[in-house]
């Protein structure tokens, strides 16, 4: 059973229908007691980093997520949900994140080092380069195209948490990140056709395997 964390941010319909399509049982809840009963957590999110952290704080979900992941419960963050896993973001003023992974979140500069202007958001289908093929989300998958929509991007000095990247202009975009049972995708797997659906299936399988351990 997957618990989709509902904290009032963004469109949860597409994640729900994606899990339905792969016949994965889930609950959608903002209540820590209900989410506690699940085997893995999915943190979605569309909107601003600051609003999201405020919502998570008000609902008591920050402490819950930290405690559950400390106890080894698998967690996947999607899009903004992935960015929230990191230490801080400069979106609408410096805001602390969940701090589960090392790194910070900054806006795309919109200009390359050579001074060429490029479009922000990074929107559309971009191909992945796998940096860690054995990362649980990537198992058995080929480097395919996935759908991105984001204006902010993770920067980290710790290459160990980068499982896959995409190149946008002169920026290496962390696309799949993770350490142990905590992972995330900058793109929307539920909107990324077969490659994305494959990663959701991999996460569900990882959760199932964790239950048996």
């Amino acid at each position: 059973m997957i618990g989709i964390i509902d904290y009032g941010m963004g469109n949860l319909h597409s994640v729900c229908s994606a899990l339905k399509r792969i016949e994965q049982p889930y609950i959608l809840s903002g209540n820590p007691e209900e989410l506690y009963e699940t085997d893995g957590l999915l943190l979605p999110g569309v909107g601003s980093f600051k609003d999201a952290m405020n919502e998570l704080k008000e609902t008591g979900l920050i402490d819950f997520i930290k405690k559950e992941t400390e106890n080894g419960k698998p967690l996947i963050g999607i899009c903004l949900g992935m960015q929230l896993l990191f230490e801080e973001s400069t979106e609408n003023g410096l805001t602390k994140g969940l701090g589960l992974l090392p790194g910070r979140v900054d806006r795309f500069s919109g200009v390359t080092a050579e001074g060429k202007a490029y479009k922000v958001p990074h929107m559309g289908w971009n191909n992945l380069h796998f940096l860690q093929e054995d990362q649980p989300l990537l198992k058995g998958l080929d480097e395919g195209y996935v759908y991105f929509v984001h204006s902010f991007v993770v920067q980290t000095d710790d290459r160990n948490v980068l499982a896959a990247a995409a190149q946008y202009e002169d920026v290496e975009v962390p696309a799949v990140v993770g350490r142990d049972h905590i992972m995330g995708t900058q793109f929307h797997p539920e909107k990324s056709s077969e490659t994305g659906m494959g990663m959701l299936k991999n996460f569900c399988r990882f959760v199932e395997e964790g239950k048996q351990r």
Binding site: P121, G124, F148, S192
Partner: protein
């Protein structure tokens, strides 16, 4: 590398997909859910649904169709037509759409763009612009109400205003070219694409792969949208993409 997107557009009237030649003669071309499934499998990068009856008659967009499409589709889709207020955006996005597009309502009340953008984020808000060349203006004039009413806006000025207010993407239709299958309006597309910092979807006039190639290179578009050439199977998306790839355009 970020690819250029190919986006079939499904103009929907009373739950059926139609496509008019220059916004007029409507021909029935199929069921929206059926077509969505078909295009997803065929390799479409996104889909756009425009409820063309809604902006004329103030009719509500068909939420039920959106829900059915959302349950089937593993690619993003945009819904437009009849989005007049924040409540309309909420209804469509909660039914499962990834983006909403606003056209006439945004011209009449530009605050609508910022309201939507503040609430859902810019990535959810597409501003659709219908433009037609105007001798007097020496540029392209923006039209509303399905291309029937001229406005005071010059197209690049309106596009910049829309982005300033929080549009995440511009869907730009050339009324001069729409339905002609003679190629996108490259000068118009280039002018708008260079004027804004967000992606621009070229629309109106697609007839073959060369037209898309021109829109992506000379026109500087980020995506190309078409309806009739896909619906009537003049060109399949697979064929179009392999042609583009041969021409050196990066596609999925």
């Amino acid at each position: 590398m970020l690819t250029k997107r190919i986006i079939p557009c499904l103009d929907v009237k009373e739950g059926r997909v139609v496509k008019g030649i220059q916004f007029l003669n409507l021909v029935d071309a199929g069921d929206p859910v059926e077509l969505a499934r078909f295009y997803d499998k065929a390799g479409a990068d996104e889909l756009v649904f425009l409820d063309i009856s809604a902006s004329h008659e103030g009719r509500d967009t068909m939420v039920e169709v959106v829900e059915r499409v959302a349950a089937e589709l593993a690619i993003p889709f945009t819904v437009g037509g009849g989005i007049n207020k924040l409540e309309d955006m909420k209804r469509v996005l909660r039914a499962g759409a990834d983006k909403v597009s606003v056209n006439t309502a945004a011209i009449l009340r530009p605050e609508l763009i910022s309201e939507g953008s503040d609430y859902f984020g810019a990535q959810c808000i597409v501003v659709a612009i219908d433009a037609k060349y105007d001798e007097e203006l020496g540029s392209w004039r923006v039209y509303t109400h399905g291309g029937r009413k001229p406005t005071q806006w010059e197209v690049t000025e309106w596009a910049q205003e829309a982005v300033k207010r929080g549009a995440g993407e511009i869907l730009l239709t050339s009324m001069d070219k729409d339905g002609e299958k003679s190629g996108f309006n490259l000068a118009l597309t280039k002018a708008v694409s260079e004027a804004v910092t967000v992606p621009v979807i070229a629309s109106g006039g697609a007839g073959n792969a060369d037209h898309f190639y021109d829109a992506f290179t000379e026109g500087k578009a980020d995506a190309g949208l078409a309806a009739s050439i896909f619906h009537y199977k003049d060109t399949s998306i697979g064929e179009l993409k392999s042609e583009l790839q041969k021409l050196g355009v990066s596609v999925r």
